[in-house]
Symmetry: C2
Subunit: 245 residues, 2 copies
C-alpha cells in the first residue's frame, strides 16, 4: 500500500519514537549522572570509532551517487566532520572530549580498545550505505531527525552531573544540532520525494530501523561491558575504576 | 620477527586459550544447566543465523580461491552444512534443535527475531572472508581447533540439565567434532605452510583474534538481552518466560 509523503514521515517518526537509542538504559545512566568516569571514558572511546567512520560513510554515499546536486549537498557533511584545517571539524572536537576525559589520544585514534560489538555495528552501517540503494543509504541517515533532543539531554545532564566534563570538552555537541537539523531536513525531503512505490517506502522504513539497531547495539555492547555485568571483551579498554573480569 | 611453524601454532593455540567463547559466562550458564528454556531458545534462534551463513562464508572463500586443490578441500564444508538432500546437513540439524525447543521454523528461518548484535557480528565474519587475503580468510576458520572441547561440554551439560533437550535434538553436535577436526587440521597446516613472512603471520594471528571476537560478541549480545539486564533490543525475540522490558 502506497503511503502519502506525510504518512511516510509519520511512520519514520514513529520508528524514532520506539527505537532510537535515546530510550536505551545506557543513555539514561549517562545523562542522568549515574555513570562513573570510567563508563564515560568507555562511551567516548567507543563512540569515537563511530564518529571517525561517519565521513567514510558519507564519502561512500557520494561515491555512488550520480546526481551532482545530491553530491554537492552531501559534501557539507564531510566538511562538518573533517573541518577545513587540522584541529577543526567534528572528529577533532570529539578528540577534545576524549582528551578531557584523560584518554591518550594515540590510543583513542588507534581504536584498538573498542569493543567488538562497536566495531561490527559501525562497519555494518558503512557497508549498508555502500551496498544498498541510494534511497536506503539516504534514509539510514534519518536518525538525525531525533538527535537534537538527545544531544540537549546529554549535554545538560553531563555538565550538571560530572565534574570531569566541561563545556569546552563538550564542544562537539554545540555544533551538531543545527547541522543535524539541516541534514535531516534534506534527507527527509529526499526520501519523501523519491520513495514513490510501496517497496521503496518499505525499504526506507527498514533502513531507518536498521540504523536505529546500529546505534542501539553500540549501547548494548557498552552496557554489557561496563555497566552490567561489567564483562569486558578480551583486549578491550578496561577503565581504571573497573576490575578486570 | 619470523616464527617457526611450531611457534605460530603455539601462538594460535594461545589465542584460543585466552579468547575462545568457551570462556564466556553465557557458555558456562548454558552448559551448566543455569539457563531457562527461554534463554536456550534465544541462543538457538540467534545461533541459527550463524549456522545459516556458514556455507555462504565458505562459498565466498571458494569463490576467491585460485587453487583447485584448496577449493576441492573446502567444498566438503558446503556438504557438511547443506547436505546432499533436503533435511540433511548441519543447517537442517540445527533446525531440529530449534524445532525441539518449540520455536516456529518459519520464524527461525526468517531470522527476524535475532539480535542486531548477532547480525552485525556474523555479517562481519562473512565480509572478512570475502575481503581479506585468502590466508586470513582460512586463518579465521581456526576457531574450529577449539570447538570439539566446547561441543563436548555443551552436549553433556545440556543433556544432563535440560529436560527440554534430547539427544535427537542435539544431533547437530554429533557430527561436528570429526568435521571440525578434519577441517581445522587442514586449515592449520595451510597457514603454517603459507604464513612465511612476519606480516603474514601477524595477519593470521589477527584473523583468529577477529574470529574469536565474532563468537564472543554473539554471546555478549545474548547475555545482555536474555541474562543480565535482560534488555531485549526492539523487535527481537522475547521468550515466553521473559517479561518485555
Amino acid at each position: 500500500m502506497l503511503l502519502s509523503p506525510g504518512e511516510l514521515e509519520e511512520r519514520l517518526r514513529g520508528i524514532g519514537a520506539r527505537r532510537y537509542h535515546r530510550l536505551h538504559p545506557f543513555h539514561h545512566l549517562l545523562h542522568g549522572g549515574k555513570c562513573t568516569k570510567g563508563q564515560v571514558q568507555a562511551w567516548a572511546l567507543n563512540r569515537y570509532y563511530y564518529q571517525a567512520m561517519i565521513p567514510i560513510k558519507d564519502a561512500s554515499l557520494i561515491a555512488r551517487c550520480e546526481d551532482s546536486a545530491v553530491r554537492r549537498e552531501w559534501r557539507s557533511r564531510l566538511i562538518d566532520h573533517d573541518g577545513t584545517a587540522d584541529g577543526e571539524g567534528g572528529i577533532a572536537r570529539w578528540l577534545r572530549l576524549t582528551d578531557g576525559l584523560g584518554l591518550e589520544r594515540d590510543y583513542v585514534v588507534s581504536t584498538r580498545g573498542i569493543l567488538p560489538g562497536t566495531r561490527f555495528a559501525v562497519e555494518a552501517y558503512v557497508r549498508f550505505v555502500r551496498e544498498r540503494s541510494l534511497l536506503e543509504a539516504i534514509a539510514s541517515s534519518l536518525t538525525e531527525l531525533f538527535s537534537p533532543a538527545i544531544i540537549g539531554e546529554r549535554v545538560e545532564g553531563m555538565l550538571k552531573n560530572y565534574d570531569f566534563v566541561t563545556k569546552e570538552t563538550l564542544a562537539y555537541f554545540d555544533k551538531r544540532p543545527p547541522q543535524a537539523k539541516r541534514d535531516s531536513d534534506y534527507a527527509l525531503d529526499y526520501v519523501k520525494r523519491h520513495a514513490v512505490t510501496p517497496e521503496g517506502q518499505q525499504a526506507v522504513l527498514a533502513a531507518l530501523e536498521f540504523k536505529c539497531d546500529v546505534l542501539w547495539a553500540q549501547l548494548d555492547a557498552l552496557h554489557h561491558a561496563y555497566v552490567e555485568p561489567r564483562h569486558v571483551s578480551p583486549g578491550a579498554f578496561v577503565p581504571a575504576d573497573q576490575e578486570p573480569t
